[in-house]
Point group: C2
Chain length 483, copies 2
Amino acid sequence: MRQLSGQDATFIFMEKRATPLHLTSLYIYDPSTAPGKKVTYKQLMAHIESRLGSSKVFTQKLLHVPMDLDYPYWVDDPDFDLEFHVRHIALPAPRDWRQLCILTSRLHSQGLDMSRPPWEMYIIEGLDNIEGIPPGSFATLSKYHHAAIDGASGVEIVSGLHDLSPKPVRHKQQASQADEPPSTVELLKRSGINNVRLPFHLASVLARTRPGFDWLPRRKEPEEERAEAPKRPVPRTPFNQPVSAHRVFTGQMLELADFKTIRQAVTGVTINDVVLATCAGALRRYLLAVDELPEEPLVAGVPINTRTEKDRDLTGNVVSSMSIPLQTHVDDPVQRLEQIRDLTAAEKTTEKAVSARRMTDINHHLPATTLTMASRLISATGLMHRSKPLFNCVITNVPGPQVPLYQCGAELLATWGCGPLLDGVGLIISAHSYNGKMFLCATSCRDIMPDPGLFAECMQASFDELLAALRPRRKGSKARKRR
Amino acid sequence: MRQLSGQDATFIFMEKRATPLHLTSLYIYDPSTAPGKKVTYKQLMAHIESRLGSSKVFTQKLLHVPMDLDYPYWVDDPDFDLEFHVRHIALPAPRDWRQLCILTSRLHSQGLDMSRPPWEMYIIEGLDNIEGIPPGSFATLSKYHHAAIDGASGVEIVSGLHDLSPKPVRHKQQASQADEPPSTVELLKRSGINNVRLPFHLASVLARTRPGFDWLPRRKEPEEERAEAPKRPVPRTPFNQPVSAHRVFTGQMLELADFKTIRQAVTGVTINDVVLATCAGALRRYLLAVDELPEEPLVAGVPINTRTEKDRDLTGNVVSSMSIPLQTHVDDPVQRLEQIRDLTAAEKTTEKAVSARRMTDINHHLPATTLTMASRLISATGLMHRSKPLFNCVITNVPGPQVPLYQCGAELLATWGCGPLLDGVGLIISAHSYNGKMFLCATSCRDIMPDPGLFAECMQASFDELLAALRPRRKGSKARKRR
């Protein structure tokens, strides 16, 4: 039994129906690498069950202190039931990428059952009609509540469920002895409050039971102390409005080699710069198409994990962020990239005064769940700044493993993620590299982005344009040059 | 805004994680009758949206009085979001009947989100491999919380969503003005309790917040007053144990004409008698196979709706029940049927002293949601009798419409339902006739019935045996005679 930190508890109490605070990851697997070339639901269930010991997140639920007089605790769920958490469905016709995006959006929009360990996994069969994915592939869509997931537990889960070879390794299930849940009296003792004092708290309890009461804890968090006023003017965009309960999701699978080609073509550019420039081009195209491009450049909030190798054993994240103008007012894609390079190079993380660019480099960075950092940043922001946006969108870029991973023998082909939105933070773009590919995806709200397909086209066009401008001319191929 | 009755409120408070109290109906539709020979998710959503006015159940959620000092209220959900309630999935491979039963079992096992109008509908595509169902058919699986559904609202929902012709009728959406949810103060005023008295209730509030506290209201309900001690010895069977959180579901689609053939072959037999005898034969076969058949006959609880045509405008059910020995100790199927006929003929409903058999006849019976009656009976029973079973299983038989129904132009082909189980009431069998077919289905708990396929086989064999024994010999066909 362990108590939630103030920040984690905040993620519980600030959750609203339209803005549930969970992370969703969409993984696509090819079962043809598995023994027998297929993986059944039963096999996956047995596999997941054998790996439950890899993270407490799987089996612990929240225990609230009566009337929320203190932060909740994580306790082992004595009625843990894997079948509640892992569901088996198939992708409806026409079983294509668009339908998978719609299904992902819908599943991501729905909140978790907070009376259980707050996670769900959908095993989605029938991915028979998706370009670049072999027919017969399946997906897992996993949702984890923000309060349960930090960078460390995210890594625990991903590494716990995956192997480095298609031959599944037998994990010895840890004999996890369930903690006895504490009694109410014990909880109240722990919170340092006794029954005599309870009546004085009734006013606030009644206030909380009023439907829709907008209650937010105002404890001062470390993040809050660190928060600074925005240094740069942040324009108003459609992304900085209250968000609805409906999410949209869209994703791209690109070649990491192409990102490297672009990096090599312009001096001093990092992969992160290329990601930012690609997003910048997409945002410019999209906002031009819907006639909403502001004159000033959009500003992206870019979370940075400042943990170094030395801090490996620390749990939790040390998250800092930089806010980078995306130069969306610049038409030329290469000029835009060069300016972004200069801006990120000048930016230092406040936390350790090391170059922020260095932190996003694969060699100086501990892998963490991409979206974890983003959503912590978003949440801290949403808590603090309700009138003026600190940035227009969040862009995360976290390098992943460059070797294939396998679950239950099936090769992981692709990995995307949806983050939580908050009022005023209506767009999050995440980039995640894995095994030679770069996966870009956007999560937004349907009212804010009614046409996610258009945004996906803009993203692809932006990347193609940048690549076309910078790819070395090949002999005999059609000449490409900077436009 | 209306307050829940004592009985309905009981269904809220007695709900436990392993025994959620909702009804699930599984409907299968053939879209080939619809305009364009197909029905899309979008069309279904638009259709359902246009019919939301047909029942308050769709849009009203529970509002709890603070600390549950009084029964909750139904209030319009100001954030009602149809897309939360209606989900779109496909049946996983091999897309056959068994897979649909498994999916149905799993979806039925999961509780509803009680912070919203307590219903969900899954639109299930890809029913391409089910005997007797044209490929391309789809299903809807709907879950409604018991507290929201009585016979009247069940009929409202079914008739609200369906038409009598494939050409959808345009329903004018009622301009439903959402009630303003009452303030906490108003709720407390209504409950006749003021703030000054609140602290005295703290002890019970704290007791309720203790995890897993088994709190049951003990108000005396009309049902309770009417309850009588079992008149007949009820043997112990595997069905009368605590139930797990996992349901199993299995169903049969039989010809109503065959039931009529059997009825005509034995003097004085009703369709209800044939249903009971079929179930009796199935239970005998199943319990013999698992070596658990008791010497005494199993006793079925059979709910009876005693409302007559005169009471049509009364909402709510007037539910009575009869308990009928199923003569499972009798080997000969025709003798078993004859004895059941005599037993049901002798049984009178306590409520109106009319023949119970008459009440189950289509001409003297108002259609109601079959399972509604069953589950009210089960719940009342579960509340009252925890040590000794009042009956071994519940069997309901409610005649449905004998004309085809259509939703969004697609013909309703088949209709089954799952009821809620309670500790000690681990098997419910429902029979429902519709458009020339008889649909039988069983809901049980996986620990109690680990082999639902075997039970389905027993049901089919029992019916085949009865029909073979009583079907008139045809010229040239193989002679059949009573064994």
